[in-house]
């Protein structure tokens, strides 16, 4: 079967729920961050697929994707700074050791 919009939407929703699964099961901050990256990537793939197959007369999907990538890079950098700071003070990056930040 010729791949089209539905195939790419299948791939992106599978990727999204793989990311969600990882976010639920992992208890390590770095792996949780990696799951979030997967989710953001699936959203980018959605934008690109809609731009390619439904509105090829516009470029808006490309711009949304580029801005999402930029914001994801900023988020990853801040998250890793926080993770390294947490490791320095607690000597572990498991989420259960960071529980005292709740209060």
């Amino acid at each position: 079967m010729e791949p089209g919009l539905y195939h790419i939407l299948f791939v992106s929703s599978a990727l999204f729920f793989i990311g969600i699964f990882g976010f639920f099961t992992r208890r390590n901050l770095i792996t949780m961050l990696m799951s979030i990256e997967l989710v953001l990537n699936s959203v980018c793939l959605n934008f690109i697929a809609f731009n390619k197959y439904l509105w090829p007369n516009k470029l808006d999907g490309i711009f949304f994707t580029v801005f999402i990538i930029a914001i994801a890079a900023a988020a990853a950098a801040v998250a890793i700074a926080i993770i390294i700071n947490l490791y320095r003070s607690h000597n572990s990056i498991d989420v259960s050791t960071a529980e005292e930040m709740k209060f």
């Binding site: 729920f17 793989i18 770095i30 439904l54 007369n57 930029a70």
Partner: protein
């Protein structure tokens, strides 16, 4: 079966399988490398869709930037050869159930919906067209979000330095 069809299925399989391995392997470094392969697979899908600019951005920022950043932070915070602790089976099962249920529901909705394609002529996604639109201040321009994102990146950079900076020991 045409060549491009086979290439699409190969890229999709590479992306999904390595994403699956990235969230399920218990060795943190391997997980990061699988994530890298998954990101490269997505860049390959962008190439397949003939959006070369987005694919290049994906490779430069994700595969070249974020993956390296994650690997660095793994080196800084993890002892080598150490495996992550096993998850308890109940949580694993319920997370898989939740993810599968959400996936099934979404796929059902997507395949029931009839997407309507526009009839307007397609524009080429050349770098020239993207750059002109990106910095345009007219009706279809994206100059304001561009500036906002640049401010955001500056703020993130300063914030990272402030967060990760080692505080000076008190001089008494």
């Amino acid at each position: 079966m045409k060549g491009e069809t086979i290439i699409f299925y190969l890229l999709a399989a590479m992306t999904l399988v390595s994403a699956m391995l990235a969230v399920s392997t218990r060795q943190l470094f391997r997980s990061a490398v699988y994530l890298l392969f998954s990101l490269i697979g997505i860049a390959g899908i962008y190439f397949w869709l003939q959006y070369e600019f987005v694919a290049a951005v994906q490779i430069v920022v994700y595969a070249g930037g974020i993956a390296v950043l994650i690997i660095f932070s793994i080196f800084l915070t993890q002892k080598s050869g150490e495996e992550l602790p096993k998850q308890n089976a109940g949580r694993l099962m319920f997370s898989a159930l939740a993810a599968l249920a959400g996936f099934g529901f979404t796929i059902l909705q997507i395949f029931k919906y009839n997407f309507i394609k526009t009839n307007d002529p397609a524009v080429d996604a050349t770098v020239l067209a993207i750059g002109t639109r990106m910095l345009g201040v007219g009706k279809e321009g994206f100059a304001l979000p561009f500036e906002v994102v640049s401010m955001l990146l500056l703020a993130a950079m300063i914030g990272c330095i402030v967060i990760a900076m080692r505080s000076k020991p008190e001089t008494t």
